[in-house]
């Protein structure tokens, strides 16, 4: 999507986001990764009965879990989980994550899925600071 770079911001043909929203999400994740040195990712889907456990399991599947920040959102269950790896949590405290989660939940409650995700990534990256 961005020239000269490989990105994995993709969705099924009939996904919940418009092309413009996908581009914005791609840019937000890329900038967050570049500025912080951490690995940000978003999961959108069901999180099972134990949402926290499922989110942590998904987090373990990321490339470098210790440096990964996962934002897992289940629109049907109306729940979100933010998981920070052992190194990432030194820069993004649980309180920071809670604040980002509050902002995201407020946006989701208003029906703004893409906007909420953008707010969350931006806030988490801001809290993490530069690498």
């Amino acid at each position: 999507m961005t020239s000269g770079e490989l990105t994995r911001v993709e969705q099924p043909v009939e996904g919940p986001f418009s092309t413009r929203q996908l581009l914005r999400l791609d840019e937000a994740l890329r900038i967050a990764d570049q500025v912080t040195g951490l690995n940000f990712s978003i999961y959108l889907g069901e999180l099972g009965e134990s949402t926290r456990e499922t989110a942590e399991d998904l987090h373990r599947r990321t490339r470098t879990p210790s440096r990964s920040v996962l934002v897992a959102v289940s629109p049907n269950q109306r729940k979100l989980e933010i998981v920070t790896g052992s190194d990432a949590r030194k820069r993004i405290t649980d309180r920071d994550a809670k604040l980002a989660g509050l902002s995201m939940a407020a946006a989701f409650a208003g029906g703004d899925l893409a906007g909420g995700l953008l707010i969350g990534v931006d806030q988490l990256a801001t809290h993490a600071g530069r690498s």
């Binding site: 770079e5 490989l6 990105t7 994995r8 911001v9 969705q11 099924p12 009939e14 996904g15 919940p16 986001f17 999400l25 791609d26 994740l29 890329r30 990764d33 040195g37 940000f40 990712s41 978003i42 999961y43 959108l44 889907g45 949402t51 926290r52 942590e56 987090h59 990321t62 490339r63 470098t64 879990p65 210790s66 440096r67 629109p75 109306r78 729940k79 979100l80 989980e81 933010i82 998981v83 920070t84 790896g85 052992s86 190194d87 990432a88 949590r89 993004i92 405290t93 649980d94 309180r95 994550a97 809670k98 980002a100 989660g101 509050l102 939940a105 409650a109 029906g111 995700l117 690498s131």
Partner: protein, 90 residues
């Protein structure tokens, strides 16, 4: 009197026929079914140095750090581990 009626009729026509009803609406509405398949979104990772561990291979940060509290989506404290974060709902 005729002109306002024509204008109202034109606007109403545009509103009712403007959206493509053959495709499902993408807009997320809380409480409405979210029928899209699960997806991952991530940017390609940049080349970064691997995180360093201590000489004996353990993480330097203790499992419990002062001021760090993990809560599940109901607000109940969750046993801390190597990961942190937060939960919320709407």
């Amino acid at each position: 009197m005729i002109i306002p009626a024509v204008v109202i009729g034109a606007v109403a026509t545009l509103v009712l026929t403007g959206s493509d009803r053959s495709k499902p609406s993408r807009r997320y509405r809380p409480g409405q079914p979210f029928d899209f398949p699960a997806m991952w979104l991530s940017a390609a990772p940049e080349k970064t140095a691997a995180p360093a561990l201590t000489a004996d291979g353990h993480h330097t940060a203790p499992a419990i750090e002062r001021g760090l509290v993990i809560e599940d989506s109901s607000g109940a404290p969750v046993r801390p581990g190597p990961t942190g974060g937060a939960s919320d709902k709407w």
